[in-house]
Amino acid sequence: MEPIIHINQIHKYFGHVHALRGVSLDIYKGEVVVVIGPSGSGKSTLLRCINRLEEFDQGQIVVDGITLDSAENINAVRTEVGMVFQQFNLFPHLSVLENVTLAQTVVRKRNPAEAKIIGMQLLEKVGIPEKAQVYPLQLSGGQQQRVAIARALAMNPKIMLFDEPTSALDPEMIQEVLDVMLALAREGMTMVVVSHEMGFARAAANRAILMDEGQIIEEAPPNVLFTNPTNERTKLFLSKVLL
């Protein structure tokens, strides 16, 4: 079977910082992959390379059969790949519903009525249909992040990328976001999740990956990686996180 995301030996430099040092990774349809690792290890950079928010310097990424090279291909890939950010990045000048419908009408060329129906369905799915007419800054962090997930889903992506979706949230709001993500995983969405939420990883992930200094150090099912790591650096990192 063809992987839906094929990452082959990519390198990324920020000036002198060698942020990704030859990362290769294949992800298959329906897989949920959790990426962990210390700060600065290149997790965000890897995720951002997948939808080309970041350009890489060497190597190759193929998403759903589309090679990331030309500008056209990048936009094609971006409509297939949804992204959820640590800081939510909702559009503050648009209502919650408009946040979810804008790209549908502008990019997917759906008519506004249809976009609205889909938008409301998605807001119901993430559990906040009653906030449709509210502006994002009036919502709690957890609610904002759920809207951000709905906004990405509105494009009918085949893949969802999450970059530390819960680490800007107050502790009592983390679970409501993880629940939405868990439901998404159960539906068979292909997901790449940068997160240190071990509970979520155990419940949802097929694979956990540890990155350090721009490389993938170890890769295993979450239970194995968290309880029986083989690599010394993995052990060191886990001992700090699991304190």
């Binding site: 936009n75 990045n89 559009f91 503050p92 990405a152």
Partner: protein, 271 residues
């Protein structure tokens, strides 16, 4: 100073009605208007005569300013986008344009457009035997508007640039990751937010442009200032003439400032 006062008012929750539209700054405007009216009524000679004489100049000033400003809004945005562009050529062109224009006094630029630029076209016409170029004559209005637009678009590009850069990078990334292209992201996400940020400086630019438009009087445009000079030359009453001209400008600038504030509040209350 004007702005900080208004911020306070809107924070106090004045939402609708007279107190919203008519604050104390309107009193200043009405005061100036009252002085003009009183002068005209109680001292018609010379004040009524001055007003009648410069009246068409008022419209020339307004017309020149408004037309130039609309063009400045468009070209300033283009130059501002050039300044933040990652394309080296676009960025370089925009940067050179802005830095050059900002380093040359507006008066000198206007002189160039009115006196030198037509000569350049004529020379070119002579050299290449293009008769419509060789007999080219500068239209003062056109050259004044061209000069003001060329100069102020450079200033305005910096306002746009600052406004766009004040919007967090995550907004553009979120828009792009939804598949919107650069222009869609600008149009639907970045500019609508930036406009709220840049309204006060844009209003400022308008008022400064209104005042600087008095410089077009040296390139044969019969605006308020030029009409004032003509009146003075014919009647030798400098004090009264320039007091009246100053009062007329004050009415225009104070009124513009009120309109700017009003628009600012309207856009703020939208949500």
């Amino acid at each position: 100073m004007v702005n900080s006062k208004n911020e306070n008012n809107s924070k106090n929750g004045e939402k609708k009605g007279y107190s919203f539209f008519f604050d104390r700054w309107w009193l200043l405007l009405f005061g100036v208007l009252a002085i003009i009216v009183l002068l005209v009524i109680f001292k018609p000679d010379p004040f009524r005569r001055i007003i009648i004489f410069v009246y068409d100049g008022i419209w020339v000033t307004i017309f020149t300013t408004v037309v130039s400003f609309v063009l400045v809004l468009i070209f300033g945005l283009a130059a501002g986008l050039g300044r933040i562009s990652k394309n080296i050529i676009l960025n370089g062109m925009a940067t050179i344009y802005v830095e050059l224009v900002r380093g040359i006094p507006l008066l000198v630029q206007l002189m160039f457009w009115y006196f030198a630029f037509p000569s350049v076209i004529q020379e070119v016409g002579n050299a290449f035997a293009i008769s419509s170029f060789a007999t080219y004559r500068a239209n003062p209005f056109l050259m004044a508007i061209l000069g003001l637009t060329f100069c102020y678009s450079a200033y305005m590009s910096e306002v746009y640039r600052a406004g766009i850069q004040s919007i967090s990078k995550g907004q553009m990334e979120a828009a792009r990751s939804l598949g919107m292209n650069y222009f869609q992201s600008m149009r639907f996400i970045i500019l609508p937010q930036a406009i709220r940020v840049i309204l006060p400086p844009v209003g400022n630019e308008f008022i400064t442009l209104l005042k600087d438009s008095s410089l077009v009087s040296v390139v044969a445009v019969a605006d308020i200032t030029r009409r004032g000079r003509e009146f003075m030359a014919a009647n030798f009453i400098p004090i009264q003439t320039w007091v009246m001209v100053a009062l007329l400008y004050l009415v225009l600038t104070l009124f513009s400032a009120r309109i700017v504030t009003w628009i600012e509040r309207k856009t703020k209350l939208e949500r």
